[in-house]
Symmetry: C2
Subunit: 361 residues, 2 copies
Amino acid sequence: MSPTPATPRVERIPAGEGAIWVGEGLLRDASRYLVSPSGRFLLVSPASARSASDPIRKALGSAVLLDFEIEDGEAAKSLANVEKISEAALAAGLRRDDAFVAVGGGVATDVTGFAAAILLRGVAWNAVPTTTAGMADAAIGGKTAVNHPRGKNLLGAFHPPRAVLSDPVCLATLPDRDYRAGLVEAYKAAWVADPELSSRASESLSAVLERDGAALVALLAGAARVKIGIVETDPRDAGRRHLLNFGHTLGHALEGAVPWGTLRHGEAVAWGIAAALEISKRRAGLSEQDAAAIRRTLSRLGPFPQPERDPKKLAPLLALDKKATAAGTAGVLLEEIGRARVEPSVPIPEWLDAAAIMSLS
Amino acid sequence: MSPTPATPRVERIPAGEGAIWVGEGLLRDASRYLVSPSGRFLLVSPASARSASDPIRKALGSAVLLDFEIEDGEAAKSLANVEKISEAALAAGLRRDDAFVAVGGGVATDVTGFAAAILLRGVAWNAVPTTTAGMADAAIGGKTAVNHPRGKNLLGAFHPPRAVLSDPVCLATLPDRDYRAGLVEAYKAAWVADPELSSRASESLSAVLERDGAALVALLAGAARVKIGIVETDPRDAGRRHLLNFGHTLGHALEGAVPWGTLRHGEAVAWGIAAALEISKRRAGLSEQDAAAIRRTLSRLGPFPQPERDPKKLAPLLALDKKATAAGTAGVLLEEIGRARVEPSVPIPEWLDAAAIMSLS
């Protein structure tokens, strides 16, 4: 007899009324995990995600009521595309008990989740992220949104998916730069709230960078568990959820200081974390040893492109931050690896100083 | 000394995190009742509601961050207008702790409430309805929506206002036909759930038709209390809330069978109630005495235009109902005045028979 292949581990993280599933081979069994009260599904996916959407098409078969191809790229994250999805869904005969399945990167999941939030005042949806950024962050926590000419994510809703399926097989064709940048959010989740995950994730970094399935599943499941744990204490982003913005205050400014797409979101966050480490050492008692350990991990996730450091360019962007006041801009500071807090107001010159000296080595 | 004028009664109905205020003279004191976490307000109102919006402008003074004029009429209940409001609000510097104030009919409150629901993933809003339909129904219960070319209210959100101000003074210029049609929803609320309110509302009908302030306040406050009581047991419209659809199954079909606006919504609901009374007598044990009492009230609220009764026109519209199945269409039946239940499936021929014989006298 030939040996039975080992069953890959599947992790289930309960999330509100739904669940996040992380594991190798989930896609083949998608019909076991995807949720639709009526049993009917509306698939939304870009052509580029075909290697992930095809197994789902096959698994769902005739339960697919609509197979909608969405454009790719940040420009597609628009109210116009929500309208296109709405029109197609209503034309297909959408009912309140049907469910969407978004397969793709953050654009596909954000736009589809928002369409699901407002169609018939809310129908169920499922997310199948195909990027590390999606699996570590974008598809988890219930935030959906589209961009507005005046800024990113300005129109949206809190509408958690009923199921998230994160299958490392989807990452097979993800370019290395995107693969690595997306992982920054997974490590970030560990650093702000889970010292043990931080330590396990450091140890498995080499395996993760080699795209080892088991190591990735452990990291992504751990990060999802941290994020859901935080989100469920603060679903509407009014307090503790801000911890997940570690690295994002300066990160958003760095991302906005260069033409869109020059820096990946995760890369900007990596630099933002490097700056927050400097401020954390001064204001939150973070040890240089902990800061150095994080910088080491970030530098191995990189190398990341050098960001804009010109204070004249960064200052106005920091002042535009949603949480900015006359006294400064809120930031998340690390006290030690696994414990963070929100600092309501860090003066802009401190951010600029940190941007000048931050380093990833 | 001159006598102190009697202070008109102000009713406060707690509603989730907010409240519904019903009373004469509320508008003058709008700044006492309208809620904004930041203290800043974005006013949205059609030019036709100026007699109601002007006192609010005056009461709020420099706290008005944006004064946006929205178009009037059902065509304005569009995603395009949500975009216009969003653009104006973001241009004015909208922050998460600001609040909208919608002053006007159901179009103004529905569109503004929906914009508030999705801007920055949700900001607070207040409703100042200027029609009986708005005060009795549209502004209460948290449903916001816009129309889609494929149907009414197909895009929307559950996003209750923090305060609703219903001041009879707003009704001074409302045409009599709209005034009367809107009241159908107030009586409907009494009939499905509150026998005592039903009886008081019958007694005060003459005063209400003469626009007596105190009688109106008592009726509208009672109807709001019934609606909020039902909504809070079923905010997402999954069960008990359907009771509020008494008269709406056939009503929607009657409304859709003629050019838009030919029948007021409340008029269509009045006929729908007349039909539901016939079915209720057969299926739910409603006495002819109770049915006759309701018909008497409806005929005094009218006269309402004769509706379309052609089964060939009504049957396809009934089959399109959101709650339709192969076996029939759900309806709300009255067991006696003040007690209703949902009948999951009434065969379409029964609706058509009831439409053929329904009467309002």
